[in-house]
Symmetry: C2
Subunit: 190 residues, 2 copies
DNA sequence: AGTATAGGTGAACGAGCGTTCACCAGTCAA
DNA sequence: TTGACTGGTGAACGCTCGTTCACCTATACT
């Protein structure tokens, strides 16, 4: 554990708590040095490593690999050794899952009608409004004054809402069918 | 759309891009007013709504409902109308999914051995290292020089690794069994 | 007509910012 | 032993920060 990466972790956890970067003086206190210039040089080093950046006004902003969790390989291909972890990429969940924050909503799944698609009751789904639903998408649809989540299929001009559970029957909407949102992601927490 | 919430959105998207709050002068440019004091009063109003906060040094930090996506109700209980959306809570994916960033890793699932638990091939799992595995947890385990993801069960002192797919057989480790990590969440993107 | 009130202007204040300077103590290779 | 380098101190610089002041509109409500 180098001193540099130790200081970086302190800065990282400061940002996690406050959602802003510490000033140079604050970093001096965090890292235990008593001169702003020592910090300044350290920040320059961190900028070189792309861990921290500066915007056009000189203010500090988190660098590319600042936020998020480390991304590893495949689970069946083996779990990396501690040495390999150093090289791994990082990824923020928010960035990974959300394209358009304004139109994205999270909602909780009730019922088991999509269990065959790996969506269990109690899961959270991230849905995006105003996006065009394509054949095979999972959608939130209004059907006969109620809302359901189903696969959307188009068969020669007609729309079919397919559950992913043999217990339930496909829905052939008679008249009104409003697609409220398209399911973009599923999230389950244990 | 009030002017206040319009300005707030500009600030929000500034933060999204730069990962820091704009200064009062920057906000003045963003919102089109020409006096810092006008911005100051606006920020006070936003602080009252908990959209923006100040830390102990007076610097601005994002408020509680600043980041993340809006959280809605149950999907089968109905999709809220636009009016209801105003009242909804918000939630950051990072905060929701990650407790201990240092020990959390993301890895991609290969194979269908946990399909019964709603974990499909290609899904991402968030795993946490160094956490004690309890009975019923899904774990990443080293078994006979390989790594797998399985349910962990304890039966009178013995450990069984259970797949969630009838195609595969439970694993009764003979000797060495190292639990590398516990699966905390599953994420699937469409 | 009168008058609160919400929201804006423009100037001012001290404090703290990011940055730079000159200098110093160790470490390591030549 | 010398000399270059790395990482630190402490003081200084101009600039921008957050904040406050007095004053200025409009609109809304008696």
């Amino acid at each position: 554990m180098t001193k540099l990466s130790n200081s970086f972790k302190k800065i990282q956890s400061f940002y996690d708590q406050k959602k802003r970067m510490p000033s140079y003086s604050e970093m001096a206190k965090l890292t235990g040095v008593s001169s702003k210039n020592a910090v300044y040089k350290m920040v320059e080093r961190l900028c070189g490593l792309d861990l921290i950046s500066k915007d056009e006004t000189g203010r500090l902003i988190p660098g590319k690999s600042f936020q998020g969790v480390r991304l590893l390989g495949y689970v069946e291909a083996g779990f990396p050794s501690p040495a390999e972890e150093e090289l791994s990429d990082t990824m923020s969940m928010d960035e990974y899952l959300i394209d358009n924050k304004e139109a994205t909503f999270m909602l909780k799944v009730k019922g088991d009608s999509m269990i065959g698609a790996g969506i269990m009751p109690g899961d959270m789904v991230l849905v995006e409004r105003g996006r065009e639903a394509r054949d095979g998408d999972i959608v939130i649809a209004e059907i006969d004054h109620g809302w359901t989540m189903k696969y959307l299929h188009r068969r020669n001009g007609k729309i079919i809402l397919m559950p992913a559970n043999p217990k339930y029957l496909p829905i052939l909407p008679k008249e009104e069918l409003k697609i409220a949102a398209v399911v973009k992601a599923v999230v389950r927490k244990y």
